[in-house]
Amino acid sequence: MALKEDLTLMAHLMRRAGFGASRDELEARVAKGYEATVDELLHPEQQEPVDVFTLLRYQPGSLLPGGQPPMGNVNWMYFLVNTKRTLEEKMTIFWHHLFATGNSKVDNYDQLLDQIALFRRCALGSYRDLLVEVAKNPAMIFWLDNNQNHGTAVNENWGRELLELFSMGVGNYTEKDVREASRAFTGWTLENKLPRAPYGRFSWKFEYRPEDHDDGEKEFLGHRGRLDGEDIIDIIVQQPACGRFIARHLYNFFVADEPQVPSWSIEQPRDPKAIDTLATVFQESKYDMRAVLRTLFNSDFFKNARFTHMKSPAELVVSTLRLVGGFELPKPGYGELSMQPSYMGQDLLNPPSVEGWHTGREWINSGSLMARINFVAELIGDPSLPGVRAIIDRLKAQAPLGPEQLVDGCLDLLGPVEVNAETRQELVEQAKEWGQLRWDSEANANAADQHVGEMLQLIVATREYQFA
């Protein structure tokens, strides 16, 4: 029988490195061991990939979704709900946050899904190699106007965001560096493509045009030469600022909520030592995300950071769907389901700007909080869903349940979830009104099922439940 502490730690790992796990899965993983589980998470290639053919059978429109939601969201939601490669998919979201590219300008979910596929492919690999791929990614080139970056007329959009948002952060380069970097990427453009009318969208392709490239002498972060885009990237990744920046993003995403990115040049990290640790591994491993994440998940600063991360809308929706079960097939209604994170403020594939979303407490406003609570409560209160039935059955096995047993049992099986003493007291007071729960007659069983559902709904409505 798994020790409570091991279960709690494993639940924490699975919430952060994945989208949570059922009690059955947690017990199996505890038996396997923490480090072994971390290792498994870091090797997604050992798990079956998502069965994309089933997706296409139900939602053929999600292959080439076009310019309007929801089919692009449908496509990604299917991966998020079904993947066994959970850390890989979490990292896909991470990279999407970092390299925030939005449909508002790209107007092409087909291309955005290609970009997501790139993030998925390179999720745990070399950050340096990923940067090069991103620099050649057609959606990114269009999004940041690098197709308008010419040797004779330099456009600094990509060059600037590369330094400011994608690698080092404000304060670690000069305006001259932005200019020189932009010069180095001239000629990295898109192939002339077939027009959209009358046959629809065609795939975009990267094209390097040497005649459009400024091949002259450049000086970037102290390095001189006839630098081109890859050279710039090679120089960037060696900078200590790059390791610290990526480390801080990883910390914000996986460990605990940091202040918003625009203030990072002013506000220090909440745990500078943790950032240093991760930045060091980043450099020593030659920018290998797998190595950095291994250090992160095995560290004490991670293990101790319970419930310090506000669930993003995507995390909330996906972890709920995975917990309650029954949503593995993209049946009718999947479109609306896939848009739920958008209604809660996180329109996947369409961040509001290249800065991405504001995370942490800024996910919460008077509109989103009610949406979040109601979404989870509606599902967790439905005993016809397999995951909910599994929770009820586990509780039933301990019947008759007194009020404290009910509360602690539900908290345990929903996470385990931690709540403050005062919150727990309120939950117990509520349970006391119901007396003992029994399943020894049909009437009692119906009442018991109902009250378990109500207790689960009350728990997912707590403030504490908004955190992972």
Binding site: N103, L427, Q466
Partner: protein, 376 residues
């Protein structure tokens, strides 16, 4: 009897409503020339004067126009439109054309109206997510995602008295306590505001009685919800809802017509409902879209354009046409689109200053000429 507070209802036409087929300069040969596929036949256009006509689906709006209750704002927009739905809508919501900011003009207005947050339902929106126009730090907005009757926290809890108990428990769990972190306190306030808002709003459908029959369309249902809340006298000053999608790149006929039928019939029922309850004289409604569409059609529909049309409807509106229909001549078009000649912030400014009696400068981000579409 004390003067009634001014109420604003915003009906956002999402997707880019086709101005050229909504308000039609029917004598202009350039209309026919440019609209070979989606042009409205001459005998169907509803003439409102000897130059302009409305789309045939807008008969109810025409009736209101004939009563002098509809102001048509010609050529609204802003310079250098990116013609992108999201960015353009953002600009209309935030009044900030050059950068991305998180708060909106109505959020700022509500903060002026109710700075001490005395009424959590000062602003109510009907739609699944919070419109950016209503966002401002510290401003609670009640977002009614579905039906007003089922609006509230934990609608799945069965049984009225049981639900009341559970919600009571929720309120107790959310009450701020000493020693909580900043973010827990913020969650507490937001949760309690949401609950309070829901408690207040759920009285509205219960008190509502009307002989007016609304059509069974999503927009009519939202407008009925707005009427219910307004008639319940809960102190709501700003209502927001949307209908769409007006993004008629293809199959514009009959699609565009269907959209306007739904909007027109919904608005007609709403106006009639308010009138029946003698509650129309302090309400105005703004209809707008994030841009108009291209002058020349694409063979089946129209693509994104620039200048559009806005409508302001109400008893206190000075009916008529404001501004000037932008020139359709090829040399006057901008990238093939009608050139906006009325900044949308002008329309906002009139509403903010002359209707809501607030200082518009900080709310709309500058000083703009105010078209005089309101009666004194």
């Amino acid at each position: 009897m004390p003067a009634k507070d001014p109420i604003l209802v915003v009906l956002q036409l999402s997707g880019g409503n086709d101005y050229f087929n909504t308000v039609i300069p029917y004598n202009d040969p350039l209309y026919r020339d440019n609209r070979p596929a989606v042009g409205i036949p001459d005998d169907q256009i509803l003439h409102i004067d000897n130059e302009m006509g409305l789309h045939p689906a807008m008969a109810p709006i025409k009736r209101l126009y004939d009563e002098g209750k509809v102001a048509i704002m010609h050529g609204v927009g802003y310079a250098n439109s990116p013609r992108s739905h999201f960015r353009s809508m953002d600009i209309w919501h935030t009044c900030e054309p050059d950068k991305v900011i998180p708060d909106g003009w109505l959020g700022r207005a509500i903060r002026d109206i109710d700075p001490n947050k005395e009424n959590v339902v000062t602003a109510v929106s009907f739609g699944p997510s919070l419109f950016r126009a209503l966002v401002a730090p510290g401003v609670p907005v009640a977002c009614v995602g579905g039906a007003l009757e089922s609006y509230g926290l934990l609608p799945g809890i069965q049984g009225e008295s049981q639900r009341a108990k559970i919600l009571d428990r929720f309120a107790r769990m959310y009450s701020p306590l000493v020693g909580r972190t900043n973010v827990m306190e913020y969650l507490g306030t937001t949760g309690l505001d949401s609950m309070k808002g829901a408690d207040i709003l759920k009285m509205a459908p219960q008190q509502y009685a009307s002989t007016v029959k609304y059509p069974e369309t999503p927009i009519a249902k939202k407008l009925r919800g707005i009427a219910q809340v307004h008639l319940a006298n809960l102190g709501t000053k700003v209502f927001y809802c949307d209908h769409g999608s007006f993004d008629t790149h293809a199959s514009q006929n009959p699609g565009h017509g269907n959209l306007w039928t739904a909007v027109s019939e919904g608005v007609e029922a709403f106006v009639a409902d308010l009138k029946e309850h003698d509650a129309a004289d302090n309400v105005i409604m703004l209809l707008f879209s994030e841009f108009g569409r291209r002058v020349h059609d694409n063979g089946s529909g129209t693509d994104h354009g620039a200048a559009g049309v806005a409508f302001v409807i109400g008893d206190k509106v000075k009916g008529g046409q404001y501004g000037q229909y932008p020139s359709r001549k090829a040399e006057d078009l901008v990238q093939g689109d009608l050139n906006p000649n009325m900044d949308f912030r002008s329309v906002y400014s009139t509403i903010v200053q002359q209707w809501m009696k607030l200082d518009p400068k900080a709310i709309v981000g500058g000083t703009f000429e105010q078209p005089a579409f309101l009666k004194n």
